[in-house]
Amino acid sequence: MEDTQQPDVRIRGIVKRFGAFEAVAGIDLDVARGQFVTLLGPSGCGKTTTLRIIGGFETPDAGEVLVAGVPVNEAAKRHTRMVFQSYALFPHMTVRANVAFGLRMDKVPKGEIAPRVEAMLGKLGLADQAGKYPRQLSGGQQQRVALARALVTQPRVLLLDEPLGALDLKMRKKMQGELKALQRNVGITFIYVTHDQEEAMNLSDIIVVMEKGKIAQVGTPEEVYRRPASSYVADFVGETNFMAGGVAVRPENILIGAALPAGASRGKGVVRAKSFLGASTRIEIDAGGQTLFATVPGAVALEIGDAVEYGWRNEDSLNLTMTEDRK
């Protein structure tokens, strides 16, 4: 019936303008079935707008989005569901009624609705909260209700716009783990928006790094980290030291003193600051007017003010095309 080989979501040249401003400036992307794909980028780069176009909330000025091979705005049956940053739970309905809403709208037979709702609530650990109203729940529980409400309708693609943004750090870490497990468990495509690179690395199969309405790089977390396509990506995903002569090196690839092998690129500097992080030590080096960061394993005998020789293996430097601001 449906072609299982084709991508779940196919984005072709979408552009979205607000007045003269191009919030989305030509994006092409294929998302394969069952992948966890994250749109990552700084505030205002067009992540939400892109997600809203995929969800059919905005109409692009150019280009089109196909979900399961059908253009979003022509589809008889919608295949995407959105989890909003504010959760958008219906405050006048119980948790149970919130989760049942989408099934009622899909005209699922009455006898089928209750068992499906209860099963979904159970799956997300909400069985005890079914009769409560959203305001009586904690942030994490509200988050789970929003997920349950979207997932119970069995969409092909789940869209999530910074769903953990409103939670505190601890809760956020916990929910990250749960989200990833949930996605594996239900086996559907997740398109996730965040500006938190750690969260993106932690969750994603594929990261889409965005810059000013365009895609800067698409790759696995490892690819994006190890082989960033540009200095913009290197700077946004992880930390990077930009040396004179267009060389870029990650802090963990900066070597100190005796650790430097023969043939490494070298320089001399002064330790300006250091902090012991347990498994590693982070050192700030004043290298002739430029500040470098090095993360070295274990503790370091150096003190602030000590002269230090630093360097890196040439194969460890990042091979970047420099964007405008770095040239």
């Binding site: 959105m82 909003f84 958008a88 405050p91 709208m105 305001r135 409400r149 309708t153």
Partner: protein, 269 residues
Amino acid sequence: MIGARKSSTVLLGLWTALVLLFLFAPLLLVALFSFNNSEISVLPIREFTLRWYERLAANEAFRTALGNSLLVAGATVVLATTLGLAAATGAHRYAPRLRTAFRSGASLPMMVPHLILGIALLGFYNLAQIELSLGTVIMGHSVVAFPYVFLIVSARLVGFDSSLEEAARDLGAGPARIFWEITLPLLAPAILTAALISFTLSFDEVVVTFFTTGTDNTLPMVIWSMLRVGITPEINAIATLTVVVSCVMAGLAEVVIRRSRQTTVGKGE
């Protein structure tokens, strides 16, 4: 120190009591005299009676006027609330930039003195050759009540999270479903408050009614005509009834507002 604060509290309490007495003494006196078994309103009251109320109940003019007033107020509630709700949601959804201008325009009838409003309506009805009747009164009252409904519903819409409607749409609800299942229930407290206020406004209205009515009389008009003969215990009875109705309406509105605060404002939002 403590003594000074105490005496200032006492003074403040005394002052408050005096203000309240000044505001409510006339109402209380009217209510009291309506139960007084004497033709003239003087203290002390020697004997209590319900005969003025009985006489009212038997008074054909009063009964007709009460019926008219209830009819007019009921119709005004329906008309003003429907129009005000439609205008407020429309302005909120479709005209974010024109909203401020629209809001000032819609609340204009509230600033215009009822005398001017009455004359303007009369002129309009004449021009449009609409015969004066209770229908024209209802239209007039709706003009008076409309801005209140508009402003009350608009205020509620300002705090309305539009992603709720988007979420409903995302889950497959059409525009009508969204309105009935999401928008309307969330606006219900505001709509109810607006309806109660419309009722009270219409039930007490004299000036606009005076200009826009034909041969039919509403309750305040009957009071007005009876007053020309002087204050009778019957008038006290009518006034008491009117105050009771208004208080009940205001009380209900207050209860609705409180309950809505409890159900929609909570943590995590």
